[in-house]
Amino acid sequence: MTLIDLANPTRFLSLTAKILPWLAAATAILLAIGLYQSAMAPDDYQQGATVKIMFIHVPNAWLSMFVWGVMSLSALGTLVWRHPLADVSAKAAAPIGAAFTFLALVTGSLWGRPMWGTYWEWDARLTSVLILFLMYLGLIALWRAVEDPSRAARAAAVLTLVGAINIPIIKFSVDWWNTLHQPASVLRMGGSTLDKAFLIPLLVMAVAFSLLFITLHLAAMRNEILRRRVRALQMQQASQPRA
């Protein structure tokens, strides 16, 4: 089974129809476990119960960057390999990524209010994530501005790859600039600085959110394929002379 085999939308549809229920079930179970563990996690000695926002905030923030990565790969698929499903994947991922980014910003701001004393700070990490959110919205606007999907796909692919420059800036902004947002504490050289009591629920939530993204992404891709089929049928019907 390779990517080429999936180039046939019908095959993709039948395969995902089989996988999706399992994926959705796995997502629901892991989310339930992760939420239970997060609720049971001890309070932080400084932050108290607000530390639990982390279990939602961090997976959302990770996913906001991961989704742009998926879109960049899809963009390469569109421009280089002309994979027929690559632009479907890119188009389906954009709103999901925008939602994750929005949630990361909102949860971060709610967490920042009790901890930093402000909802918003013009700090490097926060600003670069806000730019990411604006770029998601611009990309969605681009998809919606052009009727022909294949034409929009190539333009969006170029823009996605240009925007991918922002991803390393977001990732390393906390290391490059001395900012309010704390530096990386989970994936770092020399091991995680997080205690196991927080790390395990966080990782479970991260996996659960990734599965959630994959489920939503595949479902959105199916919808997009079906939407294009409906459009093609409508155009075919409109071009036929009335009998």
Partner: protein
């Protein structure tokens, strides 16, 4: 090379002649800067503090508004198709067009900066600093904006879509441009680092902009 030089000359000439509209950008810049004191009040101390930010914002908007001329006119009269089909690499053609555009639309903004600095009560050092940062930073604006202009012409959509696509990309330039200008006023030692980053952004734009613009032109004009 001769083809590129000819293209450079042609673009500059077309922009300067009647119907080219190159200097409208400067006029817009002037009007935006003149609007600011009406908005924030004619408080000279405040204007002095906000001056670099106002000048940068005005330059950003002015260069954004002139962007759609970069490819649109050539696309309308068909010469863009000839350029895409020529033997010269499209990336170099895009680069040449961007340089020509910067010479007629970006450079006049920098020339106008000292006069506008007077209106905003900036002293000599600050004005020179702002002009220097604009000199280092506006090429980056032109190069990133060129990507948006190429997308807009390939999609036959201009105006607001172009602004929405280009403005997020230009935020880093704005941040470091204003940081360098403010550093020149407050603490001269901190001027070098943001200025170097601005130059780096322009050089990175010089590489990425023409490549991305050529790619979107090639894929868009079929």
């Amino acid at each position: 090379m001769t083809a590129l030089l000819a293209l450079l000359r042609r673009d500059i000439q077309v922009a300067l002649r009647v119907g080219g509209g190159a200097l409208i950008g400067v006029l817009f810049f002037l009007i935006v800067v003149v609007l600011m004191p009406f908005a924030v009040g004619p408080d000279l101390a405040l204007l002095k503090k906000l001056g670099p930010a106002i000048l940068w914002l005005g330059a950003l908007l002015a260069s954004l508004l002139t962007l759609d001329r970069l490819f649109a006119a050539d696309h309308d009269d068909g010469s863009l198709d000839l350029l895409t089909m020529s033997r010269t690499p499209l990336e170099l053609i895009c680069l040449t067009k961007a340089i020509a555009h910067w010479l007629v639309a970006g450079l006049p903004l920098i020339v106008a900066t000292p006069i506008l600095g007077l209106l905003l009560n900036l002293d000599g050092d600050a004005t020179v600093a702002v002009a220097l940062t604009l000199l280092a930073g506006t090429p980056a604006l032109t190069f990133t904006g060129m990507i948006g202009a190429a997308l807009a012409v390939a999609l036959r959509r201009g105006g607001l879509l172009l602004a929405v696509l280009v403005l997020p990309l230009s935020i880093p330039v704005l941040i470091f441009g204003v940081a360098a200008s403010n550093a020149a006023v407050l603490e001269p030692a901190g001027f070098g680092a943001p200025l170097s980053i601005l130059c780096a952004l322009s050089l990175a734009g010089l590489v990425i902009g023409p490549l991305a613009a050529a790619a979107s032109l090639r894929h868009g004009l079929d």
